[in-house]
């Protein structure tokens, strides 16, 4: 026995064993991506997209024609096309240094406005992800929530604050019930929530499209668009008529705080997280896992419904079948990018809001196709979602190679 060993506490444990439950789900691995990975993913997405921006630029294409005689032209044109695109994106989304007066700060308020439904829907998905439920149904939940808010907004005549609160509540309840269908089916029959929520998205779209042809939501007019919601039911503007930023942004931030409390400090959130991290341990500890599935979906759907409410009561003022746009799907990226934490989700929603707000100016003034924003978003998703996927694949490969021999850790 060596001298160093005798210094060790007599019954000190052997070196830490590999973490129990190494079989973490793919979702958990994505959520464990570090901030460094995420920052890197965003930067890489911008770099990768710049190649496309340059390639799509007419001057760059022209310069490429005589690349071998004057290569500098190509590089110069490429640089200026990328610089133009990103600088106009910045001017459209954050701060317009070429404008004057208050108009210079208008872009950042546009970004904030665009981020509101993403924050709500992203928070809802984040609650689901933390609880182990891969809810793909924010799109449908946003839409039915928006429809609920619209119905209250155009049907009743109520005093200002009451009307707004009621419309927002209606959106929460309808969104919650809509998502609750998936939770209920999972709890009762074990139906996979991914598939059910995807199908519910389609049902929501066609349901709202149909309702827009009935007197329930249309009330006269020939186009499938609802009348404008009553002034009393809209979110008041925060910065006056020159800006579209509305109270919904503040409500979204409050919702983020509420979600933080729910997940980190409440008994319910403890159960949500326990089910998300290890269902069988949660069940053994007496947590009713099936009930948790339903409750999680109610909360997630309610939050997404609030996102729909913010869109009609704050920004659009009326409902169409296309009101939800791609909010529900972008929100998935937002929640994953934000590692499903409330703060991360808000920041990620602001980033995506900025891409939305800035891209029109980028298209008109730098001539860069607006689709490049989609490319940036998609690249971010790939870079964040791929590392665990790649790890998983190579692991599977190794397992096969070892003829089913599965231990990769030191054990004896």
């Amino acid at each position: 026995m060596t001298a160093t060993e005798s210094l060790v506490a007599p019954s000190a444990a052997p070196p830490p064993a590999p973490a129990p439950g190494e079989r973490r789900s793919y979702l958990q691995q994505v959520l464990d991506s570090s901030w460094v990975t995420i920052t890197f993913a965003i930067l890489m997405a911008l770099v990768a997209s710049s190649v496309l921006i340059a390639a799509a630029n007419a001057e760059v294409q022209a310069a490429a024609g005589y690349f071998f005689s004057r290569p500098g032209d190509l590089l110069g044109a490429a640089w200026s096309s990328v610089f133009d695109a990103y600088s106009t994106l910045f001017r459209g989304a954050v701060f317009d240094y070429e404008a004057t007066g208050l108009r210079r700060v208008r872009p950042i308020t546009e970004t904030m406005t665009a981020s509101v439904p993403l924050i709500f829907a992203g928070l809802g998905l984040a609650v689901g992800f933390r609880s182990g439920l891969f809810n793909i149904g924010a799109q449908g939940q946003v839409l039915v929530g928006a429809a609920g808010a619209t119905f209250v907004g155009i049907t009743f005549a109520l005093p200002p604050v009451v009307h707004l609160v009621l419309a927002v509540l209606a959106a929460f309840v309808i969104g919650a019930l809509w998502a609750g269908i998936a939770g209920f089916l999972k709890a009762r029959t074990g139906a996979n929530e991914v598939i059910v929520t995807i199908m519910l998205n389609s049902i929501a779209f066609y349901l709202v499209s149909y309702l827009l042809t009935t007197s329930l939501l249309r009330q006269g007019g020939s186009r499938p668009i609802s009348p404008a919601v009553a002034q009393t039911a809209t979110y008041p503007l925060l910065l006056g008529p020159g800006f579209r930023l509305h109270l919904g942004f503040v409500v979204a931030l409050l919702a983020a705080v509420a979600v933080w409390w729910l997940m980190e400090r409440s008994v319910l959130g403890f159960r949500f997280r326990a089910v998300g991290a290890n269902q069988s341990a949660a069940r053994t500890a007496g947590i009713k896992v099936n009930l948790v599935f339903v409750l999680v979906m109610l909360v997630a759907g309610g939050l997404a419904g609030l996102g729909g409410a913010a869109q009609v009561l704050g920004t659009d003022k009326s409902l169409q079948a296309s009101t939800a746009g791609s909010i529900g799907f972008d929100a998935i990226t937002v929640a994953l990018l934000g590692r499903s934490t409330p703060l991360g989700t808000v920041l990620a929603a602001l980033l995506f809001g900025a891409l939305r707000a800035g891209s029109p100016l980028m298209q008109t003034s730098a001539g860069t196709p607006i689709d490049i924003v989609q490319v940036i978003q998609a690249t971010i998703v790939l870079l964040i979602a791929a590392p665990p996927l790649v790890r998983e694949l190579s692991l599977v490969h190794r397992l096969a190679a070892l003829f089913g021999y599965k231990s990769q850790e030191a054990r004896s």
Binding site: E5, S266, R271, N278, G286, Y405, S412
Partner: protein, 532 residues
Amino acid sequence: MKLELRGITKRFGPLVANDDIHLTFESGEIHALLGENGAGKSTMMNVLYGLYEPDGGEILVDDAPVVFAGPADAMNAGIGMVHQHFMLVPVFTVAENVVLGHEPTAAGLGGLIDLTEARRRVREISDRFGFDVDPDALVEDLPVGVQQRVEIIKALSRDAKVLILDEPTAVLTPQETDELIAIMRQLREAGTSIVFITHKLREVRAVADRISVIRRGKVVGTATPDESEQQLASLMVGRSVNLGVEKAPPERGDVTFRVSDLTVIDPVGTRVIDDLSFEVRRGEIFAIAGVQGNGQSELAEVIVGLLRATSGSITLDGKELLGRSVADVLDAGVGYVPEDRSTDGLIASFSIAENLVLDLHDDAPFARAGSLSPARVAENARRRTEEFDVRLTSIQDPVSTLSGGNQQKVVLAREMSRPLRLLVASQPTRGLDVGSIEFVHKRIVTERDGGTPVVIVSTELDEVHALADRIAVMYRGRIVGVVPGDTHRDVLGLMMAGVPLEDAERSANEHHTTLGEADLEARTARSEEMTT
């Protein structure tokens, strides 16, 4: 064939799993590698078998250095391995499994597998060593002990000169273990070198010619089989240990826990628990012994409410437990230590403090009006971890950073932190080091002495012996018999194979197993010590 490890080092990140290991395995010798879980035995064997590439050192076969890129190289060099978890295809026959990976083909069959040749190989080896294995039996129909023999045949059919057995007795009954020991001896006589990896002292003393003890990745010493268990244990753990639990005779109280006519039929229609009845008194430890998979785990799960019973009744303090939710059962005062702590007992990513309130999180004082109090959760964790001597850096660290023994202490600390009316512990010391086993056993006895009825489910006879006041042996969902806590292991072993009590006692008297004899000797020695 002589096999030598010279200075083998293997690291996993900062963890040095094998640190400058020097070992020589001579032919015709049973060489035991003794060490606790996590000491680095399996890592070393995986290096030897070509599964891991060492970070330093070399492997020599007959004094010539070799490099194994994979198991195929190791096999070609004459090294065979029988893993703890068998690598067999259940729906294949014995012959098919044995030739899997190097199938004989016949030109006459157009390149198809020559199953006649495969059968012949199985029969040839089987006859040579008296294995009694039918080449055409489906592996899934065979008992575990025979499946293990198939693994050995598989290795021998590839001309293994060195056979590595990784914890081979973990899944066997004492009688099967005895048969395995006979096989090992026979192989040794035939010149095969056997590397026997285990943490069971008794077995090592019974069969090994040489013993190397490994602790924390290093070879800390060699020993001969005539060293006492106590000495071997101290060498393995690095300090003197108390192998037996000191416990007073039970002070039995009233019967408070009753299982009557319990039947559980699983979805496939198998009666996993078949008309089971027993009673447990306050202040006694009732152990349920049996080979893994005879309904014991299901029994524990039914008691806690994780599994639905088909019929019967389970009462605690006169109240029916069946049909109640897990939360209700726990509230009725049942403490439950699940069989598999990593999947059922703990949430790996949760902090130690959170894991300590996993089933108490909604009770006062931790929760008030739906809101958790992190301060009280932390305070509780500080108290519990101190009481149970959990070695940790911070109570806010994920529980996965703890060693297995300390993780199990967290589970026990949680389950014993409230007044219990019944404690159910499934495999309470599986995978733990000797020091932790000692601690866990002591706490369970303390709980008994406090007047709690305790039900222990264990497949380890040593553990059953150490703890039980009464032992029920389960076989195929039924209780074969209920016997006193000091019943001889040979009798228990036969009962574990389904032999009724009287027959088991008779045949155990006629024929002692190797380990059983060691047991008797030890007992005689102990009583002699006491008398002198």
